[in-house]
Symmetry: C2
Subunit: 404 residues, 2 copies
């Protein structure tokens, strides 16, 4: 494998393609914030704004500033999104956040889930790391505590939305909650260093909760579980495996393993990664499938055998991080393989960026999109910047004529 | 075209394949009702029951009894589903119905929409036509009136669920409501003949409401509209066209046109049909696409360029009904063409019935399913029984040796 070329390709994609695509096409100079519903050419096809994406964009552009030094364009993007969030995306009546707002920031939809809050939290945590502004740390801590409180006691949620399911019949819980909280906890600890030991305790507790979603016989992670920690296999809902989600989880766990100095957790994370990757791999068409049933029965979501960009960025992020943590060459080889598939299928050589959604055969749905309520400058930039960082360590070897 | 062979194929599919598939695999002899989450072979992959499907199944099997005479297996299926609905699927606290329940009938989810109620209503209306039992007519009338009341005044809804959208920013309405109510009104009028003139007035009002969803320049039906009847094109939501839904609407309107003796409405229905069909037709792979954007921009639903079974049954139902109402050969030719595509792509020659969900290229998603929370013995049987009825009129010509 030619690490030099791989690193060059990753770096080039990050700085010459993906970052400029979003700064040029997404930033809303009039109202602030970012539009993420962008078509193949980068033109806006929907002016509704995703609150998740405001937080994720702010987080990622502050992270770039932290990693590479402050670039005024990156900081403008991050500042614009975080101000848009603070001005328009919080429901003052209860402090919970919206899910979508109009271009001008008027609220369209507010959902029960705490994901808007999670991205708001990591955005402010990173802003504190970049700027040292204590008010951002305070906001991050407030929302972090709110999320934890709702997680520990759903009835404490100030948003009194009608429950989605009738819990007296079947009370369930979702892997997404402890998983996203673990990642947020890790990022909080990076920013709020003086409270690190508190975050470590919370992370350990979340990891224990996450383990309950693992199916013992197969080692696969299930997306849903009964509240009493039992599986429920009579319903298709209880058997959903989302390989991309499990793969993303595996590197959240790997990050935590290194942070918590827990070598067994790193082994466990590797095992979760391989089980999920091998289960999700599409032997027929290449790439990784979106949803699968634990027992290989049909999956209700129509789109279950499509190929989604983020599933592939998460496999790449996991592969490069596991390589970094274990130095096993097999991860570098896997990175190379998935990167090759992604460049051949997701990357748009004509207009830049990656297509979001491919049919199973690897062709983009038509008309294709580059952005969406759920796709903005996040997964791909996170993967590329982490890969650039890790690969650059490999090429910074002393000059040696024996190599030529 | 060989009408005799076409009729034979339709009749054979209806009686030898589709009906037996559901009676054999779906009927829950223990708890009553029907399981519709069936895999390729007809095995149950999820024991959660869809309330929509209990109502639709009862409706369709009573309809078969009405059309072909009472068959004890059909009546058992219909009776079992309607009893399951009455016993388990109504929330006694407010009279609204659930969306999903367990195998035993314990409530899992209750949604805001009135579709469970709509299928319950038509099931009882048909049961009254088959059995003459006045209590069914009364139930149908009660739920019909409840739906109309909620449609006319959403605040009168006894189910006080948190609104999905923040209406102070953008208050929208959906084509699905007046459309389903029009079909239910038509079926109510067939059963409740003494109140026919009342139903006619309501149908005329609903047709006026439906017309507001039409986009003047293209003649296409939009799925969503602002409450003040204006379009909203700045959001992708305001531009969604669902060709299959528009095609289904076109034959609801055609039925009404004949019923209301309104030849202009029939012309309008034909125009809606052709505009939707030509817009949805996939010139590249054949079949009809699921969602399209009015201005051909990207559609947010990942599955937008998939092929769904019901879109194709509705095109077939529309084609055969328009043929019946207009005697234009072009509809018979179109029926033949779409039936051929469907038999080549949706029909499973190995295990019977139709695959529910195909990728754009016409191959089923894998693992494929025959049933689903949204797919049961309804669209396909409705299409086949209507086609059988109409085609049989064409072959019942006097015997004539000149033809041989």
């Amino acid at each position: 494998m030619d690490i030099l070329r791989l690193h060059f390709s990753v770096k080039n994609s990050l700085f010459q393609d993906i970052i400029p695509f979003w700064i040029k096409n997404g930033l809303d100079k009039k109202n602030g914030g970012i539009f993420t519903c962008l078509d193949r050419k980068g033109e806006i096809y929907s002016y509704d704004k995703s609150v998740w994406m405001q937080g994720r964009t702010a987080y990622i552009f502050y992270t770039l500033c932290l990693q590479y030094g402050i670039d005024p364009y990156w900081k403008e993007m991050a500042d614009s999104c975080i101000c848009f969030l603070d001005k328009y995306c919080i429901d003052d009546s209860d402090g919970r956040m919206y899910f979508t707002v109009t271009a001008e920031g008027k609220p369209l939809r507010k959902r029960r889930y705490i994901f808007s809050e999670s991205f708001y939290t990591i955005a402010h945590a990173r802003r504190y790391s970049v700027t040292g502004d204590k008010s951002s740390l305070e906001k991050a801590r407030n929302y972090y505590n709110l999320m934890l409180k709702i997680y520990d006691n759903p009835e404490s949620d100030p948003f009194k939305i009608t429950p989605k399911f009738i819990s007296s019949t079947r009370e369930t819980k979702s892997l997404a909650y402890p998983m996203i909280l673990l990642n947020v906890t890790y990022i909080m600890a990076e920013s709020d260093k003086e409270n690190e030991s508190e975050y470590k305790d919370i992370a350990k507790r979340l990891i224990r909760d996450i383990r309950k979603f693992r199916h013992e016989e197969t080692g696969l992670m299930l997306e849903n579980l009964l509240s009493n920690d039992e599986h429920f296999f009579e319903s298709a809902t209880g058997r959903i495996v989302n390989p991309g989600h499990s793969i993303e989880l595996s590197w959240f766990l790997a990050d935590s393993a290194v942070w918590l100095e827990d070598p067994n957790l790193l082994l466990e994370a590797e095992d979760i990664f391989w089980k999920a990757y091998n289960f999700g791999k599409d032997e027929k068409y290449g790439g990784i499938l979106y949803f699968k049933d634990l027992f290989l029965k049909p999956v209700e979501a129509y789109e279950h055998d499509m190929k989604l960009w983020w599933v592939h960025t998460e496999a790449l992020t996991a592969a490069i991080k596991f390589y970094d943590y274990t130095k096993k060459d097999t991860y570098l080889e896997l990175f190379d393989e998935v990167y090759d598939y992604s460049n051949k299928n997701f990357a748009d050589t004509e207009y830049g960026e990656w297509f979001g959604y491919l049919r199973r055969d690897g062709l983009p749905t038509e008309p294709p999109c580059k952005g969406h309520t759920y796709k903005g400058p996040f997964h791909l930039i996170r993967m590329l910047s982490e890969s650039e960082r890790i690969l650059s360590k490999l090429i910074k070897k002393p000059f040696n004529c024996d190599n030529y």
